[in-house]
Symmetry: C2
């Protein structure tokens, strides 16, 4: 299996993004796609466009990239370097056994919907980095953690591999949970109902919710690089066992329904979403 | 085998580049790398960054990309679309039999050096597109041909496949023949002597040579996407047979020597090159 992703300066990152983290993240976002397919990472190619060849920058970037490659046993086998606006495209090739992989298209009516980790923390990290909201002084100690959730996503490779026999559909959360779940249900020809009350969130989410633009920020902000997957409802024990084995929190957030579209409950009321996630072209 | 290439607006192309040709070329430049390895094209991913999602532009671009894919039996299997400065990265995956591929690193002392097609015509096409030189009125009828050499490179897939049992090293000419031959001899740990007098050039090259900045323009301008390869000197009959079978002109331009470095003869005199080809970062 193969996947490609691009990080663009001024769109996906800015001058405040630590350069080593940028190197790490450029690989991690592509690995996250492999995780969603239940694939084992194998090879990486890098196509980078740079305004200038600055040694200090390249050293930091390479170090971060190398760290992520080593962590996931990924070999950088080639690439391309061009002069131009800073743009980083990674292409990752992974291995699956014939016929053994997960797609977005297999969700069935009655399936449970799960997410790994916590949702919306990278989005809060972005608000912190942009310094556009007055962050509560009482939560100042959480800043480094939330920034690390933005800068250093954790591709859930081990979870994806463990899910291979169980998940009916899987996607990684990059645009926003709502948007990515929409991709899944559209591809599967089904609908979904999720409960925001069940959503695994930043522990002090309620204290920053309004600052962040309202309750739905967590499920529309994107860049979580967590997995959102579906499993038959009789597989709950197996899913919790996978959570235990991989030491990754997995939370059941809803279920697949026949009626098309995404319904989201908050405080036990069905809410309408005014957006689903990040859109590159409005 | 896998390869990736990037075309950046303002660096590799500009507003004068026909958009359908840009789509074609973005695939062709990566296929050219496969040709140099003696590989069979299989799959393509596209990572494109666009300032805006303009339907007319996308329709033309897609049509050109699709044409090249169909021509070379290549399947577009995925990709990524981002908002940002216009940048096009293609990643092509090709197939080779185990151990049967050509690299840059196998050139042996005494080998012949060959090129396919004509060298320097894309470079002249670029000068025409930029309209920076007063093109002779008498050669006006060659403009469309030279522009097509710039806009629509021909990946030499069939030649690469035919060369598999014979070539000791191969590279595609993207940065400039001199630069790419330098890559080959450096990787092979040898040197080379080529004769500019043997070089297959635009038929009226002598009439535009000075306008283009001197005799060496053809071998330093780049973007030919022809193959430059080496073969043992006792394989000349086989190479000419490959030329006949593939209907691609193949010209012997020099030979591999033990002494490191590239030597180029012009009018039977050894000349020094003040540059080898395009450099992204000076």
């Amino acid at each position: 299996v193969v996947t490609t992703d691009t990080l663009v300066a001024g769109v996906h990152f800015d001058d405040k993004t630590p350069v080593d983290m940028l190197g790490y993240k450029s690989v991690a976002v592509s690995l996250s796609d492999l995780a969603a397919m239940g694939a084992t990472p194998a090879w990486l190619t890098l196509a980078i466009t740079l305004p200038e060849a600055e040694k200090a920058w390249l050293t930091l970037f390479s170090a971060g990239l190398d760290t992520c490659c080593k962590e996931f046993d990924l070999a950088l086998v080639g690439g391309n370097i061009s002069h131009g606006p800073l743009t980083i495209s990674t292409q990752v090739i992974g291995k699956v056994r014939e016929g053994q992989y997960i797609t977005r298209a297999g969700a069935q009516v009655g399936d449970d919907i799960y997410v790994t980790g916590k949702i919306g923390e990278a989005g809060l990290g972005l608000l912190l980095q942009q310094a556009t909201i007055p962050w509560p002084q009482a939560l100042a100690h959480d800043k480094p953690y939330l920034l690390s959730r933005l800068h250093k996503p954790t591709p859930r490779i081990s979870v994806g591999l463990a899910l291979l026999p169980f998940a009916t559909a899987c996607i990684d959360v990059s645009d926003g949970l709502a948007a990515d779940l929409m991709h899944t249900i559209t591809a599967s020809g089904v609908g979904a109902r999720i409960s925001f009350d069940r959503m695994p969130l930043y522990t002090s989410y309620t204290q920053v919710m309004e600052l962040a633009g309202g309750w739905q920020h967590a499920i529309t902000a994107g860049e979580d690089y967590e997995l959102c997957f579906t499993c038959a409802a009789d597989q709950r024990t197996q899913v919790m066992e996978i959570s235990r084995q991989t030491a990754v929190t997995i939370t059941r957030i809803g279920s697949i329904e026949a009626a098309p579209g995404l319904r989201c409950e908050f405080n036990d009321k069905e809410m309408s979403l005014d957006r689903y996630g990040y859109r590159h072209f409005e």
